[in-house]
Symmetry: C3
Subunit: 362 residues, 3 copies
Amino acid sequence: MTKRLSELAKLVNGTLVCKDDPVISGAASISRAGDSDVTFATSTASLQQFMDSNAMAVVTSEPLLREAGFTKPAIVAEDPEAAFVVIAETFKPPIRRDARGISERATISPTAELAENVVVYPGAVIMGGVKIASGSVIYSNVTILENCQIGCDTQIFPGVTLYENTFVGDRCTIHAGAVLGAYGFGYKSASGQHQLSAQLGNVLLGDDVEIGANTTIDRGTYDSTTIGDGTKIDNLVMIGHNCQIGRNNLLCSQVGIAGSCTTGDNTVMGGQVGLGDHLDVGSNVSIGAKSGLMQDVPNGKHMFGIPARPARETMQILAHQSKLPAMRKEFRALTTQVEELQESVRGLTVDRIGSLSKKSAA
Amino acid sequence: MTKRLSELAKLVNGTLVCKDDPVISGAASISRAGDSDVTFATSTASLQQFMDSNAMAVVTSEPLLREAGFTKPAIVAEDPEAAFVVIAETFKPPIRRDARGISERATISPTAELAENVVVYPGAVIMGGVKIASGSVIYSNVTILENCQIGCDTQIFPGVTLYENTFVGDRCTIHAGAVLGAYGFGYKSASGQHQLSAQLGNVLLGDDVEIGANTTIDRGTYDSTTIGDGTKIDNLVMIGHNCQIGRNNLLCSQVGIAGSCTTGDNTVMGGQVGLGDHLDVGSNVSIGAKSGLMQDVPNGKHMFGIPARPARETMQILAHQSKLPAMRKEFRALTTQVEELQESVRGLTVDRIGSLSKKSAA
Amino acid sequence: MTKRLSELAKLVNGTLVCKDDPVISGAASISRAGDSDVTFATSTASLQQFMDSNAMAVVTSEPLLREAGFTKPAIVAEDPEAAFVVIAETFKPPIRRDARGISERATISPTAELAENVVVYPGAVIMGGVKIASGSVIYSNVTILENCQIGCDTQIFPGVTLYENTFVGDRCTIHAGAVLGAYGFGYKSASGQHQLSAQLGNVLLGDDVEIGANTTIDRGTYDSTTIGDGTKIDNLVMIGHNCQIGRNNLLCSQVGIAGSCTTGDNTVMGGQVGLGDHLDVGSNVSIGAKSGLMQDVPNGKHMFGIPARPARETMQILAHQSKLPAMRKEFRALTTQVEELQESVRGLTVDRIGSLSKKSAA
């Protein structure tokens, strides 16, 4: 498929800026764009990168274009990336899966209640007492155990497992392989044996929550492990039993949160961050990638490091660490200087005593 | 559902301690309990927390109650948490799934041997030569490849994959998405190409083993990767090929153990711990969360840090690290002092030489 | 099954070195071998370990055997481990799964195109527009969404999910539970809400790629997330959106690579390594286990640590860190010495001034 650049400009209500009207065959980011592709630029640097690239044309903003003052073909749009998305979708239209109701190859308990326009793919297994609201899509090979409740317009991708009593809100996305509601890792140890704690709680997701592929969230011991509205969780994250994650958090890949932690709203954790158990983390906190948190964090703090400290402190410590070998050398040099001084002073003292004796002798 | 507190006391052979006999509508941990809920307290601190909470009543022990000397409704029990579990189960009875034999929608090889009361859910696939002993439950969309053997009363939750020849003991629990027996990550590299090593071994779990959701255990190269009786493994853990994990270990979430490691009995690893390959870790060892182990560990040691050292050493190093910026300042101040001393001593020496010359001149 | 050692020697074109011709009942690595097992040794140390073991016989090389000069039964082969693999396979023949075409219990879209000898197991779900080339095997409960393309002789183990438009090359192995093509974790945050970025890209694997169990690779935003030919990825690894991983890389377990990173060829990352986003890593780079990379790395470098630095620097820093407590003590001692010196010099100066005054008085 090809389009004239003018057609694409029209599509996004943008302004065409070019002498001719080139034929465009695709849309790609600058570093991947071929010589008949359109790309986009939202900064002076990326517009310069476009100039040096093979890309045929760019979607950008008026101020950037004016500043650059160049002549390669462009579309000027108010929100260049949003306009580019529309153009890119023209070339790679997202898959529209045919809504097909409930596959005959899905297994649905007679006591499950599914709204009329719920879609269930082959191989999905939905147990007794489950309720699924309208517009939700259950992909293939998903298992939903007893008494789960799923809101409307929620997507559950292939191979997900929801253990019994899991609650999922509206407009959630749960990616492939995620497991919600497995047993919490709590044991009482007696004479070397480990006895599993009670597993009477469940997992509860708010609305607009996104759960990454192969992420696991354990059920609470007696109550719910909860994920607040609007919180987004990346792949391979572990949320322990009894945690209460606030609203609009962003938890990056491979984060691990031990049992009974809480977070406020709008808190962000970088990749591979770990939290010890029973920690309370405030709102608007950010925790740098790979940090290991061992203490509570008040609102608004930026933490980093193993163990996590206020980020500025950790950066100072890291800077000093890198100077340790040099400091050690300096330290040795200083020690030598002090030894030499001691020697000199001893000499002076002896001399003084000598001169004193001479004086007294005199 | 509601219950009188006296009914609940009777249920757990506890003693009712209250003026009236309140109506209870649920059971929850203290921080989540509403004003008609019963909760439990096993420490002075948690009993105080109960007093300050909305909870209607508490299950606690006689000595704690006596010490606190308060008047809110209580049930006195010998093991308060155990009693509370029984009460909580009254309000939230665990799901009893109907044992239904083998689903017609499961696929069982004619050469597989399943004991009479084995339960297999829809979508499970069981290949040739597999043997499953009595009382075991295979949930939906589990795949069990050729010649696996599974003991009695073992639960395998949805979406688990057991590669060929995997052995699972009695009373094991394998949570959703776990993968046992995938290829070990061993390669011989020749002229830039990586050639996979032999994959002739398998995975062998003892009795009473628990495997967390989405955990992976790779098969041995020639022999078995083994997990000892009573060992509990959390979610998203990786156990490399040829490892031999001892009995009653506790491995927390996201632990990664490289190939050919061994552990003794009763060893504990915190979350996100990593072990290099071919390490031997003793019995009763504990390794703090996020540690990176690079050496063998004898019995009974408590290790911590990256790289892991005896925990006390690491704690000292961390304490000193946090003082590095201050130490650097002190070091600079000391350097200045030494320079001043050098200046003074130089002055004194010059003076002495001067006075000596004067003397000699005299 | 038992074999004479002479039969096994013949099988591998090896030379029998023993007085009698013992009966062998199995093959195992040295530490696991029983007294009627054959094992192998490829170093002086392992040959010594064999001598001290229960194992009946060994496969080894001529030079090693000559050097050791012992008399236990042996087979001499040019490549002892390769010969041992052949012998071990005699005792534990790898499973040969019956090629059975397409299971009636698999669900294949009428618009999917599968080559004639493709094998599809029960419970696999293959959506519209998918193309699978000859010799490939799709195990049970795999889901392949729309328009994916899979090369020839590729194995996709149980429970894998390929999102739409995923491309997989020839001779690839994708282990159980892996998820390719889930949404990239990119959000624009406006007034506290997180808006998911475009998800128009896909995942593209080259030829001879191996993907570990429960590993996740996210799709690109507008373009492909790519994995180069011959690259091997271990279990529970996370590759973020837009990454371009080069050829013949080895990425060990639990590595996490944030979005838009690139690597060259033959690069190796140890377990639990983490990379920040938008980093460019060269060819022939190695990054030590548990490192946290925060900067680009040129070709051929060996990086290590959190943050990752050239490995030699990190090793120096670690060595100095472990001396910090001792250094602190020395520092205090030096401070005391300097204070004493200051006292002495003050005394000398006072003395000098005294003697000067005396002189002037004189």
